[in-house]
């Protein structure tokens, strides 16, 4: 046997022995194909998750806002606060439940108002500002003027969640007050059948200052009366008590 063949046979023997302990590489092109597939699946899962296709995530990358204005209900038996739920995802989501947390108040009712679609800019034309009104899409309304749950929110639309509460105490405690969570899914019999509960109040409805006489660092809350007039109140509970007296 020649020296070269002996050397090659020796290399092959070594490779065979190493094969018993750790497999050989599959080759660069096959490895590239498999690796690119794995990374591609991760990218696809990420895109689907961000787009809200895998489970409801309408507010990815944004912050839902809470309204600092309160309003007395027509029946003068409750005060409402609003929070918005913008659906930035690519799928319609269905709001199936709203939960409200606020010490010293009891929840009376919840409802949803669907804002009209955004008017978007076309080439070279100025942006038309969104008109935020109480106008509704054809949804069944309750006596308070908002649609009861469940409500479908199409993509690129914003839902205004209205929570009506009645104060059980009239003294505001310092600190954050008023949280609203929404339970959402893709709809009855939709796929995948996942639901998600999201907080709509990254900022609370009111942040009562330490002196309990103002909110949000020295500001006041605006409360709109039934007759359309506005009054300034120092806190949500104190203001609600005053308005419903």
């Amino acid at each position: 046997m020649t020296a070269t063949l002996e050397h090659r046979r020796g290399d092959r023997d070594l490779e065979d022995r190493l094969d018993e302990l750790i497999p050989r590489s599959a080759g660069p092109f096959k490895t590239l194909a498999v690796s690119a597939t794995v990374v591609g699946v991760a990218i696809a899962a990420t895109v689907l998750t961000i787009g809200g296709h895998l489970y409801p995530r309408p507010t990815f990358g944004s912050s839902s806002g809470s309204g600092s204005n309160l309003e007395v209900g027509q029946a003068r038996d409750a005060v409402s606060a609003t929070v918005i739920l913008p659906n930035y995802s690519n799928r319609a989501v269905r709001i199936t439940g709203i939960s409200f947390g606020g010490a010293g108040a009891e929840l009376v009712d919840v409802g949803v108002i669907l804002e009209p679609p955004n008017e978007t800019q076309s080439q070279g034309e100025p942006v038309i500002e969104e008109q935020t009104t109480q106008a509704t899409v054809p949804l069944p309304r309750n006596e308070r003027g908002a649609a009861p749950l469940p409500v479908m929110v199409p993509p690129d639309r914003t839902a205004t969640i209205v929570v009506w509460f009645r104060p059980t105490e009239c003294v505001d405690e310092p600190g954050p007050w008023g949280t609203v969570d929404a339970t959402i899914d893709f709809g009855a019999d939709a796929f995948p059948p996942f639901s998600n509960t999201i907080s709509l109040t990254q900022d609370p409805i009111a942040l009562v200052d330490p002196d309990a006489t103002s909110v949000n660092g020295g500001d006041v809350l605006i409360l709109r009366n039934v007759d359309g007039s506005f009054i300034e109140v120092s806190g949500p509970l104190a203001g609600a008590c005053e308005a419903l007296r």
Partner: protein, 296 residues
């Protein structure tokens, strides 16, 4: 020719990445503001940057690592061990890269206002990738005669005491946090899920360590047996245990951070992040880290 190109790309990947970075930055900062005529220049620069990025990515994903032999020769006690280490280094590094890239990508899906999910995804991906690199020879059955040593292999032969102590400490801390979160009946799920993730990482890592220890080894010569022992030590420590410890430390810190706001907790959270970084650095397959492990 193709192999030489791929090796060259691999060797100069840092320079190519810098070129790509400036290729992306330059058009936006310098060229584009100059107006219409510069858009072609900007497009060319962006295309060049894209080509650089894709080349570096493709070479990394193909598992090319021309430095593996050199690194292995530097740290291995003999040429046979060097050949074995080179194979392992290529395999482990490639799996960790694919795992880390996939994990970081998935982390982007949850990174709404901060980069923590991306870092968590990166660490978890590296650990999972390192573990997947060791999953081989399971479930194989042969009919030919086969042989084996009857020497007992212990977990302590392959995993360092520091890593074992870290895993035990993390498990205890995670248990404590789970107990507190359950007793507290907190509305916030995050402390519970983060602590559970840390505990799951510890359990999975320990299971994987045992799998590496008992993985098939036929009867071998003394030198190959010694090389295999060293390789299993590297695999069980650098391959996945240390990235998993880094991930678990981050999870414990996330869990701790949501319990309460106080100076003590803030200091503890920062300390945990520093420890996580230290374990990640120790998990990198540099000559220094490999040499330290082999000599210990």
């Amino acid at each position: 020719m193709m192999h030489r190109l791929m090796n060259a790309v691999r060797r100069h990947r840092a320079r190519l990445t810098v070129v790509a970075f400036f290729g992306i930055l330059f058009p936006f900062l310098v060229v584009a503001p100059q107006g219409e005529g510069s858009r072609i220049t900007a497009a060319v620069l962006l295309s060049l940057a894209a080509v650089c990025v894709l080349l570096v990515l493709a070479v990394n994903l193909s598992g090319r690592d021309p430095d593996a032999e050199t690194r292995a020769l530097d740290v291995a006690p003999d040429p046979l061990a060097a050949a074995l280490f080179a194979r392992w280094l290529r395999r482990s590094k490639h799996f960790r890269f694919v795992g880390g890239l996939s994990g970081a990508t998935l982390g982007v899906a949850f990174a709404e206002s901060n980069l923590t999910p991306v870092l968590v995804g990166l660490l978890a991906g590296i650990a999972v990738g390192g573990a997947m690199a060791e999953v081989h020879f399971f479930g194989q059955r042969h009919t030919s005669p086969r042989s084996a040593e009857i020497t007992l292999r212990r977990l302590s032969d392959y995993v360092t005491r520091t890593d074992t102590a870290a895993l035990i400490t993390i498990a205890v801390a995670a248990f404590a946090m789970i107990a507190i979160a359950v007793a507290d009946r907190s509305d916030q799920p995050k402390p519970l899920w983060s602590a559970l993730a840390a505990l799951a990482a510890v359990l999975a890592t320990t299971g994987m360590q045992w799998a590496v220890v008992v993985r098939r080894r036929p009867a071998l010569s003394v030198d190959l047996r010694r090389a295999d022992d060293l390789m299993r030590r590297l695999a069980a420590t650098q391959g996945f245990t240390r990235p998993a410890i880094a991930f678990a430390l981050v999870m414990v810190s996330q869990s701790l951070a949501t319990f309460a706001n106080s100076t003590t907790i803030t200091i503890a959270v920062i300390a945990l992040w520093i420890l996580a970084l230290a374990w990640y650095v120790a998990s990198r397959q540099s000559r220094r880290n490999l040499r330290a492990l082999i000599d210990s």
